[in-house]
Amino acid sequence: MIPQEQIQSFTSQIDHIRNEIKKEIIGQERVVEQLLTALVAGGNVLLEGVPGLGKTRLVHSLSKVFDLPFSRIQFTPDLMPADITGTNIIVKTDQGNEFRFKEGPLFASIVLADEINRATPKTQSALLEAMQEHAITVAGETHQLGDPYFVLATQNPMEQEGTYPLPEAQLDRFMLKILVDFPSLSELSEIVGLTTTTQTVHAQKVADASTLMTLRGVAMDVPIADAVKNYALNVVLHTHPELEISSDRVKRSVRYGASPRAAQALICTSRVRALMQGRYNVAFEDIQAVAPACLRHRIALSFEGMAQGDTVESIIDDILSTIPRG
């Protein structure tokens, strides 16, 4: 059983971490919060935003705060799976030549996979195996990845030429898809002020892997009322056009709906959010807050939906507002 003190200190610890990250990241509070949510919930994140918004810096700050091994992989079309997983190399030893496994950049606790859609599907799948299994298999040998293991993949919403969009099955493995917006004028001013001078303030370590695991343990213990759980599950079910309960709009505009992983993501992330809000139970508002990030990459629009200019975001909003609570 998790002691009460640990539970009660959750919010303060999260606030501490958040404040530390703020030292290096200006604005993007929603992104930071969602990122931390996913990290505590034990999921992976797909970040989408134009270049130069500080995605790499954010992940880097995160790794500093938790003092976790961090690696960044810039995905390119010529990147091979072995480039990221590692490979066996011949090493000269006293006994002669032998193969030794050289770990690739995936062997870290926090991995930033930049522009994942630029890599070939083969390389993408190598990353996704690591995400899902927390293990890498090379030449028949499985190498376990430690806990916590957090993959943050990025995508550029522009420059889609020459890219390999992630297939739906693989998109589904990301717990959240976070949209990074362009900063406001004031935020931009601060960013420029921070980054064009000799930076004197850096994020410091305030937590570690065990702290993160503890936080995760606390979060997963947060109770959720049946009515709230049913609400979350109904949200997922209502995204499916083949079901009777879905609305006419979903039937018309959606090609396929969210998988059961979406339901898992909703529950896990809403638990973390509830604690972040200082509550010891999940509320309907938590589900509504995390639903867009959990669902937007799991719902595909039909041709009719696209032709009519419908968007996944508006469909999700529609679903959230129409399902009755309890």
């Binding site: 109770p223 709230v228 010891y280 999940v282 509320a283 309890g326």
Partner: protein
Amino acid sequence: MIQLVHALKPIRKRMRAQRALSWIMIGLLAGAIIVLLLRGASFMWEFPNVTTWYFVAIISAPLLFGGIAWLLPISDMSVARLADSCGLHARAQTALMLKSSDTPMADLQRQDTLECLNGFNPKAMLPFQVPRFSVIGVLVCALCFSASFLIANPQMQIMHAKTEFQTEMKKQADLVEEGATKLDDAQAQTQDLRKLLGDLAHELRQSTEPKTALSALDDAEREMDQIKKNTSKDTLKALKDAGLSELAQALEAGDSEKAKQLLNQGTEQANSAQSSQSTSSQLSKAAQSASDPSASQQLSDAAQALSSGNLQNALESLQNAALGQSNALAQASALSAMARSAAAQAGAKQAATLNLNGLSISGLASMSAAGNSAGSGSGSGSSSGMESGGGAGLGSTNKDGGYTASTNGTAPLGSNAPKMKVSEYESIYDPTRLGTEGEITNERGQIGEGEISEATIGSGLGSIDESVPYNEVLPEYYESAVEAVQNANLPGYAQNWVDRYFSSLTE
């Protein structure tokens, strides 16, 4: 858990009160709809005390609904749900779910919930709300109800007419009872007549429509006729048994002259001490043998009058006995006739009210039919009044005054040249125009169209400055009245009433 339930108590109370309020409003709407339906029904059917039912509906429905709402149990989860909807963020529901859990997380969650519930102000967070649809519904019903008063309610008119009839009948019943107490106690028939009139008064009080009242009156008059017949029959039998067959025959034939003669004979013989004692004693014997008390009394009166030499009184007593008449019976008949007249008038008024409103609903039609059919109810009796009142005579016609029917518009010549009168006539009784000629002419068709008969009218009997003796015009009026009611196809009881009226005038 107990703490949690206790903390939810104010919310539960508020919820119960809100539910009761909502249900009361729904009950009010239901009551208003029932009132509106009752109002509609009151247009179709008779609905006594409908106002009471309005009040019953409008008061009992909200009370019933409110009572049920108050008494129905409210689950803890419903209360929790309501509390959570006011900004508790599913705390209450989760706490209820964890009621049996004792993990640190569950304890913290419960504490957090209790803190929030303690700071929860139900009055501020849950203001009373009245269901809008019920308010609008009640207002609409009230509007329709008010508007319905702009339409005349035919049933109210029927009931009003019925009430008026009942009031009149009660009044008549009182008069009949009062009249019954004033009957001559000395008369033998009085006891029976009082009972009869008492029963009649009771029936009149119970009657709600003319049919019933007139039926009761018919029964009473039948009984009175029976009493009269019994007395008459017994008198004649007693006389015959006492050896006064000739006298009995004369009385039966209505030959008062012969009866007087026979009595006179008897008196003369008595004076000569030969047979008057025997006539008087014969009458006494007849009085003793008569089984009918009234016959016996009147025969005894006749015997006494004869023995004291009062021939006229003796004759009158004998005539009354032969007819079965008595003062008490005449009074009772008059009371009955008065009540019948009032019943007929009240019934006619009721029917007129219905016809005036053009009522054609079946219930109303049957009511008006009942009113009409009551007017044509059976009447007992016959033209006995006419027979007994033989002084009706032939009467006179305007022929005596020189009337000649004319259709060519020329006035006939003669000592009493009639005045020329060309007009459109109504069917009215005119004693100067009796007889086969110079009958009342009727116009046919619409006024101004069709045939118009012309007739000249004689001066008739008497003149404007003079008065005609009552005895001379009575028979004429009597005959004309009987003829008129027969021609007018009036119901039997009306004809009898006219007959009796004039017959009583001839006595």
